[in-house]
């Protein structure tokens, strides 16, 4: 009789949150760190950030074009990946190596596995580790006018003392985004307030790591040592911005805590016994691989669930 109306399954309303908006919040949260990085390391850092983001964005656009997929730039995830990768690079890295890193992150780690939501490894960190292997010398060259070449953790490892105050405010050698702990924490607090991340992963990561270092670090509860370990080597950036990457972390609440524990142990292991003083990136991408297993053993108990195995057939 009359015209027909739209039908669909309930619910018929949707919240305003979108994937793009979440990614935008992450970009905002990374702003203090990025600005400080540019201030600290100069225009080279700015150029590297822009080049890396451009590389990621163009790679994603081109990949989707070539394989005839829908353009997915609107979700802003490529921009986030680009920025995170840049923040994990030394400001002195030749720009073309950053471009290769961006392409690797987007094409190899993300798109080849099915694009957003399907990658099993954090794209930015996957690319960083790729660059560490491919261009080892450039990736570990932190010599820049203001600072000596050694990162605080490398210095610590050689038995030198470090100024933890400098590490908090970021006046040390390191990658563009890892040095200023305060800037990272500002961003992290913003993300927590906006409900983008919670403390399950970073909290359990940091607590486990501190316990591990107190037990096996060889310095006991020496606060100077622990603080230096926490603020150095990108641990804060990793804990709040990369370990919390939704796609590559468990979705189950208990799994997130377990994931943080794995991160803490692996990072501690790599730093204490490994050849490398940092280890956060490797800890995260290794733990990324454990996520399916972690989820399998942490299926949440549903509301009102009684004992297992009491289902009637």
């Amino acid at each position: 009789m009359s015209e027909l109306y739209n039908v669909s399954s309930s619910p018929h309303v949707r919240s305003k949150d979108t994937t793009g908006r979440i990614m935008f919040y992450v970009l905002i949260a990374l702003l203090p760190t990025s600005i400080f990085g540019v201030y600290n390391f100069g225009y080279k850092a700015l150029v590297l950030i822009l080049v890396t983001i451009a590389s990621c964005v163009v790679s994603e656009w081109a990949y989707n074009k070539i394989v005839h997929k829908k353009n997915t730039l609107g979700d802003l995830s490529a921009v986030v990946t680009g920025l995170l990768l840049a923040l994990n690079l030394p400001a002195t890295l030749p720009w073309w190596q950053a471009v290769i890193g961006g392409m690797f992150a987007i094409v190899v780690v993300k798109c080849l596995f099915g694009g957003l939501g399907q990658n099993f490894m954090n794209p930015a960190l996957g690319a960083r580790c790729f660059l560490l292997i491919a261009f080892a010398a450039n990736m570990t060259n932190f010599t820049i006018d203001a600072y000596s070449g050694a990162t605080p953790l490398a210095a610590l490892r050689n038995g030198e003392s470090v100024d933890t105050m400098d590490m908090l405010i970021g006046r040390t050698a390191g990658t563009i985004g890892e040095t200023c702990t305060i800037a990272i924490l500002f961003g992290a607090i913003f993300l927590i307030l906006m409900g983008v991340i919670d403390l399950r992963i970073p909290g359990s990561y940091i607590v486990t790591f501190v316990i591990f270092m107190a037990l096996f670090g060889g310095h006991g509860l020496d606060s100077n040592y622990i603080v230096a370990q926490l603020c150095g080597g990108g641990l804060m950036l990793g804990a709040f911005f990369m370990a919390t990457d939704y796609v590559t972390s468990p979705i189950t609440p208990n799994g997130q805590i377990l994931f943080g524990v794995c991160l803490g142990i692996l990072t501690g292991l790599f730093r204490t016994f490994g050849a490398n003083a940092e280890g956060v990136s490797f800890a995260i991408i290794l733990s990324n691989l454990l996520v399916p297993m972690i989820e399998k053993i942490t299926i949440p108990k549903s509301f009102g669930q009684v004992k297992e195995g009491k289902k009637h057939e």
């Binding site: 399954s9 619910p11 018929h12 919240s15 189950t252 549903s302 509301f303 009102g304």
Partner: protein, 440 residues
């Protein structure tokens, strides 16, 4: 004391301001009324009239088809025009009795009773014969709820006045306009359960109702009014029981297993009408609302009235709607046509100028595993994962991840930033698994 609530849930825009202050008007229907024989959970009712018969308002026209079933009364006087399948709000074709009203509304004589003089069995029989079913939406026959195995184990009779669905204001109007009937109805129900306390649970976005019912029950030693946090789905049965008693039940349990009986406010009023006045369920309060409606308001309609007639009485559309819904936006049914009858369980007609689902579909992205659905799920399951299992037809994993516990509240689809139809996939899978189980 903090506000009572449950874990999880979402906060959709309430939209209740459109109609909440409009007093309920009685709308007398014209012409044809349709009474689907299945407007409750359980066996369909069986017609006891034939085409051509004349009936009175209040006369039973179909008797219960079993214990878990419910009779249906005519809401008008008139002539039986047809008994044939008709389209109902859920989209199904259901065998229905069609009555042509004579416009006189001649009624049968109702058998009033003194509730205090009735035995428990007589009370339950009066509820059963009046066709009282859960009017919150599910339509579960109330007499079945009132007959648990061990009446002595019931500790709470909870009156559900949460009305957590956005836009709906019918329960709100009942609590404001007829609070005495709620208290009377609850008192009758408490007679059946010696060890039970009556709790009227209301969300704190309805302070007027809370104040009014508190005032009315001040001297009732067995009745309390509980203030709930405004959050969807606070009025879901399992969530409400938890909020009030901190007891959790799962899909395999009944409220009675937690010592509870839960009934919606309008159901309790119907219990009062049935037991005290001897009146069957014939009318109910209904909200016509949404930004496409000229004059959003509340009606008391005669059952069987078409949605079209209710919309016309609310001034029709002021703007062309994209979507019309029977019920609320979270769990209501989208209608493709207004030519469907109202039933015992239809509580609202919501007309929206914008279809948010269609708009969201156009910007849907892949799941990024953000976990918002997990936070929102009142059943504490993992909707994003379950919807993937559903898409892949992986029934084993679906059950292992407790998919059958889903209460279909839609919080996951609402909150999903990737705009994925999580609830739809899960609901479909649940139906398939239930069908498989029945085959065995």
């Amino acid at each position: 004391m903090g506000l009572l609530t449950f874990k999880g849930g979402v906060h959709p825009a309430e939209g209740k301001e459109l109609s909440k202050d409009k007093p309920t008007r009685v709308l007398q229907p014209k012409g044809e009324l349709v009474f689907p024989l299945s407007q409750h959970i359980g066996a369909p009712a069986k017609p006891i009239v034939a085409v051509g018969d004349t009936v009175l308002r209040g006369q039973i026209i179909a008797e219960a088809g079993g214990f878990v079933s419910s009779p249906i009364a005519s809401s008008v006087s008139g002539t039986i025009k047809a008994i044939e399948p008709r389209r109902v709000p859920t989209g199904d074709m259901v065998n229905s009795i069609v009555i042509e009203s004579d416009g006189a509304f001649r009624e049968i004589e109702y058998q009033e009773a003194d509730a205090d003089a009735l035995s428990n069995d007589e009370i339950i029989a009066r509820v059963q014969n009046a066709g009282v079913v859960g009017m919150g939406g599910a339509g579960f026959p109330t007499h079945v709820k009132l007959s648990p195995k061990e009446p002595g184990n019931i500790e709470y009779v909870i009156v559900n006045g949460a009305e957590c669905e956005p836009y709906l204001t019918s329960d709100y109007r009942i609590m404001l306009d007829e609070p005495e009937k709620i208290v009377e109805g609850l008192r009758i129900m408490l007679k059946l359960f010696d060890n039970a306390k009556g709790i009227i649970a209301i969300e704190n976005n309805k302070p007027e109702c809370i104040a009014k019912l508190r005032e009315l029950t001040a001297d009732e030693s067995r009745i309390d009014v509980a203030e709930l946090l405004t959050k969807y789905p606070q009025g879901g049965e399992r969530q409400l029981i938890y909020a009030v008693t901190k007891r959790s039940i799962n899909s395999g349990m009944l409220p009675a297993d937690a010592g509870c009986i839960v009934d919606n406010v309008e159901t309790v009023v119907s219990v009062y009408n049935a037991v005290k006045l001897g009146k069957p369920v014939m009318n109910r309060v209904f909200t016509v609302t949404g930004d496409a409606v000229a004059d959003p308001c509340n009606f008391e309609f005669y059952m069987g009235t078409s949605f079209k007639e209710l919309l016309d009485a609310a001034g029709g559309f002021k703007e062309q709607p994209e979507k019309i819904i029977s019920g609320g936006p979270m769990m209501g049914f989208a209608l493709f046509d207004l030519d469907v009858p109202t039933t015992k369980t239809t509580s609202a007609l919501l007309c929206m100028t914008r279809d948010e689902v269609a708009a969201a579909d156009s910007v849907a992205t892949a799941c990024i595993n953000c976990g918002r659905c997990v936070e929102a799920c009142p059943e504490q399951i993992v909707p994003s994962r379950l919807s993937k299992f559903a898409q892949h037809g992986d029934k084993e994993s679906f059950e292992k991840w407790h998919g059958m516990e889903c209460v279909e509240c839609g919080s996951c689809s609402f909150i999903c930033p990737a705009k994925r139809q999580l609830a739809q996939y899960i609901k479909t899978m649940k139906k398939q698994i239930l069908a498989d189980r029945r085959k065995k």
